[in-house]
């Protein structure tokens, strides 16, 4: 039995009187792809924001490797190995692709001011390692030839892939993808599909996914959670979800 990586219990987020997320439970095991689906405005992204520390949840616990992370600052959470992408691509547009990758490794690189000013051997070695690490991941996502291109000038699909690569250089254990297939053509979606499976199988990380593209979700998810209006509706394997009448009702409406 594989180990439990993320364990969310009774996650609730209130904005004033509005309950955006109400008692959501999530479990992600090691090397698992878990999807969160639900109609628009169901609170999926709010769940992500709570997990990644952009919001502090009103109630509930978020355990990452048996450690409480609810209430920590966003940058502290990402340093613990939980990194996310965004629904709208957020790259450092005016910086080059390779610089984007180096910024993501900031905390591994940031030794001290003086070693950098004096270019000590230790500093050079760290820079070199970071460059190699970045090159490795650029190659993984097929962007190595664009390394010195400005990130904002890449095609949309490439920007999406760069965002994932940029997360991966931080060496996360759990990668959270917020609608990674939005705006991609069928070919690019297929490549993304393969990339996500590769991340799980070869790089042994877990992935938490929000997605509207049902063929993608049903094809790769080990477990699916359905949220509607902030409340958990169902969870199970792809087969179980497909046949669940509540889910069909939430998506298609009643007769």
């Amino acid at each position: 039995m594989s180990q439990l990586l993320l364990d969310v219990n009774g996650l609730t987020m209130r904005f004033g009187g509005l309950v955006a997320v109400n008692g959501v439970n999530l479990k992600v095991k090691n090397r698992q792809i878990v999807s969160v689906i639900g109609p628009n405005g169901a609170g999926k992204t709010t769940v992500f924001n709570c997990l990644s520390g952009f919001y502090i949840p009103t109630e509930g616990s978020v355990m990452l490797k048996n450690e409480q992370i609810a209430g920590l600052k966003d940058y502290q959470i990402s340093r613990k190995g939980l990194v996310r992408t965004f629904q709208h691509v957020r790259l450092f547009q005016k910086m080059t692709v390779i610089e984007n990758m180096l910024v993501a490794q900031h905390r591994h690189l940031n030794t001290n001011l003086f070693s950098g000013l004096l270019k000590t051997p230790n500093y050079r070695r760290l820079e070199k390692d970071a460059m190699e690490h970045a090159a490795h991941w650029l190659k993984e996502v097929g962007l190595l030839e664009y390394a010195n291109r400005e990130a904002g000038n890449l095609a949309y699909g490439q920007q999406r892939r760069l965002e994932i690569a940029r997360c991966m250089v931080t060496q996360p254990e759990l990668l959270m993808l917020d609608e990674p297939a939005a705006g991609l053509n069928p070919n690019e979606t297929k490549e993304l599909d393969e990339l996500i499976i590769k991340l799980r199988d070869e790089h042994e990380i877990s992935i938490l996914l929000i997605e509207h593209d049902m063929s993608l979700v049903m094809g790769i998810s080990d477990h699916i959670y359905v949220i509607a209006q902030g409340t958990p509706l169902a969870n199970g394997t792809a087969e179980q979800i497909k046949g669940n009448p509540d889910v069909i009702k939430a998506y298609l409406g009643e007769e």
Binding site: L91, H106, C167, T170
Partner: protein, 420 residues
């Protein structure tokens, strides 16, 4: 030609007529003992009418004028530079040559030019400091002159009350300015854009008004005079040594006294400081912290999601920018020998910001060029007397229209990757 064009043209001509009437058309003059309002001469009126006609026509035919502007070839600075490969090998020699020229040059020109060059170097330092905050970290700071004032007053006060030397005060000034940068940084961390600009503007004014009103310590509007000049290993540049037993520079080297030694010495110190600042900031820009500043400017939320602590990054930008201004301020006080709050008014902040924007945000080369233009041009335009600021404004409008990205836009470093 449509009616909106005509309307625009009439409107612009009207505005220029009103402005010209107020600024040039009427003058207050003393008529024996009383003040009298005098109209302009017929010749001046002719000029005003001519100017209004130009405004009217250029607005009316603005599309054609734009086309004309586009037809003017833009200078392609990249093309002027030698090829990348060749440039890399040439670069150290080029830098060495520039430094040598800068060291020899002052011995061949007039005292006034050296003095002006020193002032330019101060502005280069200030521009480079503000570039960290505005150009790299993207935090609009309208009160940068406050840190300059802190640096200047630190040296002036330490020298006056404790007789401390310039060289000892230099790091103290930078440190104190950095502390102020740090203190200002805390309350403004959550602010961006316009809000940040207003807070920093207020901070700049607070410092100036404090200096103006704390008469018992700072001398208020009278300022502080008689600030000691820098010494060369204890050798003074005065005609006679101030302290008993101390030597002066010309006595030690057995030369005739010349007041230009002092000016040249100050210039050389400025060159040294600027080279240090350029080197340090150049390194910082290529270090993780420099990349983090830029990343923060580009997308703050993405930074946070990647484990970057934005508080630390913003504070470091503020602190390092302020310490550069502190450096410049300390040197300014030493060069001037006299400082008062008058030297640290808002227009100084605006000029430094203009240097950064005109030069090209983030680009060190551009800022150096812009600082040279911004300090030398008003001097060259001295013969236009009261209209020189008008010319200065005109130049900035033309520059922003002609090259909105700045004189030398920032170039991204090309990082070589080993192909795997």
């Amino acid at each position: 030609m449509n009616s909106s064009k005509l309307y625009n043209a009439v409107f612009a001509a009207g505005i220029s007529f009103i402005l010209a009437c107020l600024m040039i058309g009427v003058k207050l003059d003393t008529d024996s003992t009383v003040l009298a309002v005098k109209g302009a001469t017929a010749e001046q009126w002719a000029w005003i009418i001519g100017g209004i006609a130009v405004v009217f026509l250029s607005q009316l035919f603005s599309t054609q004028v734009d086309a004309l502007f586009r037809a003017i070839p833009k200078p392609d600075i990249q093309a002027l530079l030698p090829q990348q490969q060749k440039f890399a090998t040439l670069k150290p020699w080029l830098i060495a040559a520039i430094i040598v020229v800068m060291m020899i040059w002052p011995f061949m020109v007039s005292r006034g030019s050296v003095d002006l060059a020193t002032l330019t170097l101060i502005y280069i330092m200030l521009g480079l400091g503000l570039n960290i905050v505005v150009g790299l970290a993207g935090l609009l700071d309208l009160g940068f002159v406050a840190f300059y004032a802190v640096g200047a007053y630190t040296y002036a006060l330490l020298s006056q009350y404790f007789g401390m030397s310039f060289w000892a005060c230099l790091p103290i000034s930078a440190g104190l300015a950095a502390t102020f940068g740090f203190l200002l940084g805390f309350p403004v961390l959550r602010l961006r854009g316009d809000y940040l600009a207003i807070v920093t503007l207020g901070f700049g004014e607070i410092i100036r008004i404090l200096l103006n009103n704390w008469t018992s310590l700072t001398g208020g509007p009278n300022g502080i005079s008689g600030i000691a000049k820098p010494t060369l290993f204890g050798l003074e540049f005065n005609r006679r040594a101030k302290e008993e037993g101390a030597m002066t520079f010309h006595e030690y080297f057995d030369m005739d006294y010349s007041s230009s030694y002092k000016v040249i010495f100050l210039y050389l110190i400025a060159v040294l400081l600027v080279i240090c600042v350029i080197y340090l900031i150049n390194r910082l820009m290529r270090m993780p912290i420099g990349r983090a500043w830029e990343a923060l400017r580009e997308d703050e939320i993405a930074c946070r999601s990647l484990g970057l602590n934005r508080t630390a990054i913003k504070l470091s930008a503020f602190t390092l920018g302020a310490s550069t201004a502190g450096f410049a301020g300390c040197f300014f006080a030493a060069r001037q020998g006299f400082i008062s709050p008058e030297s640290f008014i808002f227009i100084e902040s605006a000029i430094i910001l203009a240097i950064v924007v005109l030069g090209g945000m983030g680009s060190q080369m551009g800022i150096i060029f812009a600082a040279i233009i911004m300090t030398i041009l008003p001097e060259l335009a001295r013969e236009f007397s009261e209209y020189r600021m008008l010319l200065f404004g005109l130049l900035m409008v033309v520059m922003m229209r002609w090259r909105p990205q700045g004189l030398v836009p920032m170039k991204r470093p090309n990082l070589e990757l080993k192909q795997q």
